[in-house]
């Protein structure tokens, strides 16, 4: 009985451990994929336009549609004009060559951006939605 009970307890512990592992894995996965955008604040586009210097160094999430490509430089990246959700004004964003690959006009992306010097909206990561 004690052996049976002992075996039974050990099985329960294994189950708990496995479940814990699964939870950790799931959390890890979510933080490594979609989860890294969901934790970020959405960039307040209107305020940013009025005074970009106030947003320097911050990281935001931007959900936007690609309006046009303003400039592309091989080995550097591209400057895109995007229309953020909920905004009537377009924003210029820079997508480095290592971040973006094929980006087409009209596509919708969720982007993690960092506001850099000069008010540059630097796209660190993006994904279609």
């Amino acid at each position: 009985m004690s052996l049976f009970q002992s075996l039974k307890n050990s099985h329960t512990r294994l189950q708990v451990f496995a479940g814990t592992l699964l939870c950790v894995a799931a959390l890890t996965f979510s933080s490594c994929s979609g989860g890294e955008f969901s934790n970020l604040e959405t960039l307040p586009a209107q305020q940013f336009l009025e005074k970009p210097i106030d947003f320097l160094g911050n990281t935001y999430s931007v959900r936007a549609q690609i309006d046009s490509q303003i400039k592309w430089e091989k080995g550097v990246g591209r400057i895109l004009a995007v229309l953020p959700e909920g905004s009537s004004k377009r924003l210029p964003v820079f997508v480095s060559e290592v971040v973006g690959d094929n980006i087409h006009i009209g596509q919708r992306f969720e982007m993690r951006v960092r506001i850099q010097e000069g008010g540059l909206v630097y796209v660190e990561a993006l994904r279609k939605y």
Partner: protein, 638 residues
């Protein structure tokens, strides 16, 4: 350059006076112009030949009150293909105006009735006994007492009386001639009988004596006695015959003289257009002289000019016929005048009246034209003469005023045609003055003078010519102070003032190599600003405020201190505030080197006005700059 303008100014009056009457000789004061001055926003005018005579030709036709049958240049009046001497136009005008000023009196009506009665009495239809003719002849003295007659009836009466006297003398001569012829018969008989008697005596004696010697001596004594007695008888006969021949010659001479005098007077009356008197005298002639004497012996040359290209035999009947025809035409002319006037066709009435007046100046029929009608036509006649003179002098304003008055007097006067021609002539002159101004401003003095000549030729009293003259004079005067004024203005950066005084300053600086480029640049800048501001105003009218703003921004780049441009911007700014906000922000960001922020502002501005050229250019510039920065920096991506 200054001296050229001074020469224009000084020689303008001379040019004006020369051009009015003749083509302009080249003034030595004018010299070829140097290089053109500032463009001053003016376009080069087009030079051309203006038809300055168009109005004059039109005016001459319209304002000439004389009819087509009158030719004052050749001094002739043509009636039914026959020419009358019209004498000088001025003299004719005076007589015509005198007629229009006169009022027909009852005395003139009486005279007309009397002349009609005389002509009726002389008609072949009536009794033409010596007594009746004498009574008619006496009426001539009554007619001569009227002023309208001018004593011409007395001349007729004298001619008739002279013919009668000559006829009476001829009767006396005929009596003497008959007596002489009887005497001649007697003398012829005496001479013939004497010779017969002597021959019979000699034959009887020859029979009685036989001795031949004795016969010879007797015959010899007879022959010596016969010539003396016989000769006297023959001499008497010859003398008688000579007297008869002399009387015959005198009779023929008297008859011819009377006929020639009569005919001469008829022709004279006809040539003077005294057709009634010509007709009366012709009628008397036909009654006094027999049918074989009707052919005209005098005035053939004068009459030939009335009947060219014809070989007619001119007779007194011809003169009577033509005179009667003229009187009929006068009557018809008077009717036409009265009818035209009654139908409010005063211009036609005036033309027809002149023809009728010239033909029937001495005819009582003209008295049928009422006084009031004459006064009206006189006003019209004087108005047209004056308008014609003004048109000749090219005083178009005066012509326009008179045309209005004339059209009130004559509804059939071609008022609109004249006014239209007048406006055309004025426009041509104005265009020439404008072209002259343009050429002057460009420094092309020769062409400026040429255009001015055109303007003066077309319309010498054009007020624009005087303005041009004053402007040029002012420019020449002010030009001397122009350099100092320019330096003052440029030191104050008052470009607008320089632009507004560009003409005078242009003269002053035309040969100043240092200041001229600056002056030219300033004028061009302000002209461009003006152009852009004008375009902006047009855009605002079309409801395109953002485009207007962009034009003003463009103007501000030329000179941001220009007052009219800034005023326009201030007025427009509230309407385009959102757009301007982003543009200004973009500019500030660009100046700070924040190209990403500038790019964001430009994109926002473009969202307001998608067609914005400023935004397109700004996006291009800032994106290039931004990419350049990113290229030089390492990516910040984590």
């Amino acid at each position: 350059m200054l001296k050229h303008y001074a020469s224009i100014s000084l020689s303008l009056l001379g040019v004006s006076s020369l051009l009015v009457g003749q083509g302009v000789g080249s003034s030595p004061a004018f010299q070829p112009a140097p290089a053109p001055v500032a463009q001053a926003g003016g376009s080069a005018p087009t030079s051309g030949i203006f038809e300055s005579n168009t109005f004059l030709e039109s005016a001459n036709r319209a304002f000439d009150p004389t009819s087509d049958s009158m030719n004052f240049e050749e001094g002739s009046f043509v009636w039914k293909g026959r020419s009358f001497n019209l004498t000088e136009q001025r003299a004719f005008r005076a007589r015509f105006e005198r007629f229009l000023l006169a009022s027909p009196s009852s005395e003139e009506q009486e005279y007309a009735l009397l002349m009609a009665d005389i002509m009726e009495r002389l008609s072949v239809e009536n009794t033409n006994s010596d007594e009746a003719m004498f009574e008619t002849w006496e009426l001539l003295f009554r007619a001569s007492r009227f002023d309208s007659d001018g004593g011409n009836s007395t001349i007729v009466a004298n001619q008739v009386f002279n013919a009668w006297r000559i006829r009476k003398e001829s009767r006396g001569i005929s009596m003497s001639q008959r007596e002489l012829e009887q005497l001649r018969v007697t003398q012829q008989e005496i001479v013939a009988n004497r010779e017969f008697t002597l021959r019979r005596i000699r034959e009887r004696r020859l029979l009685q004596t036989s001795a031949s010697n004795r016969d010879e001596s007797e015959t010899k004594s007879d022959k010596e006695a016969m010539p003396s007695e016989d000769a006297f008888r023959v001499l008497d006969l010859a003398e008688t015959e000579a007297k008869i021949i002399a009387l015959e010659s005198q009779t023929a001479l008297n008859g011819l003289q009377a006929k020639i005098q009569f005919q001469s007077q008829i022709v004279s009356f006809f040539m003077q257009r005294r057709f009634q008197h010509a007709l009366v005298l012709s009628s008397f002639y036909q009654l006094i002289f027999k049918g074989s004497q009707q052919q005209l012996e005098v005035g053939k040359d004068e009459l030939s000019s009335f009947f060219p290209n014809t070989d007619l035999t001119f007779t007194v009947d011809t003169m009577a016929f033509v005179s009667r025809e003229a009187i009929n035409d006068i009557n018809k002319g008077v009717d036409a005048v009265n009818t035209a006037y009654a139908e409010d066709r005063s211009l036609i009435a005036l033309e027809r009246l002149q023809e009728t007046f010239f033909l029937g100046e001495y005819s009582p029929e003209l008295n049928l034209i009422p006084t009031q009608q004459r006064r009206h036509l006189l006003d019209l006649y004087r108005g047209m003469i004056e308008a014609g003179d003004l048109a000749e002098a090219k005083d178009y304003n005066g012509v326009a005023e008179l045309v209005e008055e004339i059209s009130k007097l004559a509804s059939d006067f071609p008022k609109n045609r004249i006014l239209s021609s007048l406006e055309t002539a004025k426009s041509i002159s104005d265009m020439a003055v404008f072209a002259a101004s343009q050429y002057r401003n460009l420094g092309d003095i020769d062409k400026a003078r040429e255009e001015l000549q055109n303007a003066i030729e077309v319309w010498p009293s054009n007020p624009a010519i005087r303005e041009f003259q004053q402007e040029t004079t002012k420019m020449a005067t002010v030009g001397t102070q122009g350099v100092q004024a320019f330096d003052d203005l440029i030191s104050r950066q008052d470009k607008r003032a320089i632009f507004e005084r560009r003409l005078e300053l242009g003269f002053a600086l035309s040969s100043d190599e240092a200041r001229l480029p600056i002056f030219t640049e300033v004028v061009e800048q302000v002209a461009r600003i003006d152009l852009l501001v004008k375009q902006a105003e047009e855009m605002i009218k079309q409801g395109n405020d953002y485009a207007a703003w962009e034009l003003l921004v463009e103007a501000a780049k030329v000179d941001q201190d220009d007052a009219p441009m800034n005023r326009a911007r201030a007025e427009l700014a509230p309407q385009v505030a959102d757009f301007v906000l982003y543009l200004n922000r973009a500019e500030r960001q660009t100046e700070s080197g924040h190209y990403a922020g500038a790019l964001a502002a430009y994109l926002a501005a473009q969202d307001v006005y998608p067609a914005s050229r400023l935004c397109r250019e700004g996006i291009e510039a800032t994106s290039n700059a931004l990419m350049g920065v990113l290229k030089n920096e390492a990516p910040v991506a984590e």
